[in-house]
Symmetry: C2
Subunit: 148 residues, 2 copies
């Protein structure tokens, strides 16, 4: 494996990931959710199961808690999330998705599924499964977060 081959693989990987991110973003906007940036998607992913605190979010996104707090402000202002009292810690707030936040999450999933379907049309269903299997084995564990 020479450097040039590694670069070709790297370029294809980064191009595919960048394209997917853009596709999801466009799909979400097309479904009527404006003012959301890809970074919000990573936040949604952390909030979706049971909510999270600002500090949890900050760790997940790899930013300061001030930045996470500002992001939450914005999501609250746009109607995607709300701050609730935290059960068992009066300092903390539990940030949870609103109905609109859940709808936006589903829109992102649909957009992603659409892109993946196109890959299936090119590679075949079986090969897409192989792709997922391979990527899952080499993906660094830990949260998915914006990286460049």
């Amino acid at each position: 494996m020479q450097n040039s081959e590694a670069m070709a693989l790297s370029a294809a990987l980064l191009a595919t990931a960048g394209g997917l991110t853009q596709r999801i973003h466009e799909g979400v906007v097309a479904r009527g959710f404006e003012g959301v940036r890809p970074a919000h998607g990573f936040a949604f992913a952390r909030l979706a199961p049971d909510g999270a605190t600002v500090t949890d979010l900050a760790v997940h996104l790899g930013v300061t808690k001030q930045a996470a707090s500002q992001l939450v402000d914005e999501m609250v202002r746009k109607g995607y999330a709300e701050r609730r009292a935290h059960p068992g810690d009066a300092r903390a707030r539990l940030i949870v998705l609103t109905a609109r936040g859940w709808a936006c999450t589903r829109a992102a999933e649909e957009a992603a599924a659409e892109a993946v379907r196109e890959w299936g049309a090119v590679l075949g269903e079986g090969e897409v499964r192989v792709l997922q299997e391979q990527l899952s084995r080499i993906a660094p564990r830990g949260p998915v977060r914006p990286a460049w």
Copy 2:
């Protein structure tokens, strides 16, 4: 293919791409090139073959030409590139990599190759080739550029 499967594949893809970007960045820094951000890498890729104008770079990176010009300023200041007269257009400048710019590019290639070698250790050489083949077929054509 359900939405949840599409999300699992998307997450693995984005995590792998994010991890690779980070690995390359760390590898470049570890080899003594400081003050370079991932965005510079995409600029290097465009400048490497024969140089490019500021406008070329702006199109490649998907930013305004003012932003591209500022990026070039920074690369010149840090010794990675230089502005030359453009042969055949007195308005334009040809931006080319310096020796240090080339060295940095090679460092990035080595860091990428290192990460890819690790994938080979996990998946096997053949499967890595399959991975590249698949990604090449689904990668959107056009320049690789920062996307989230």
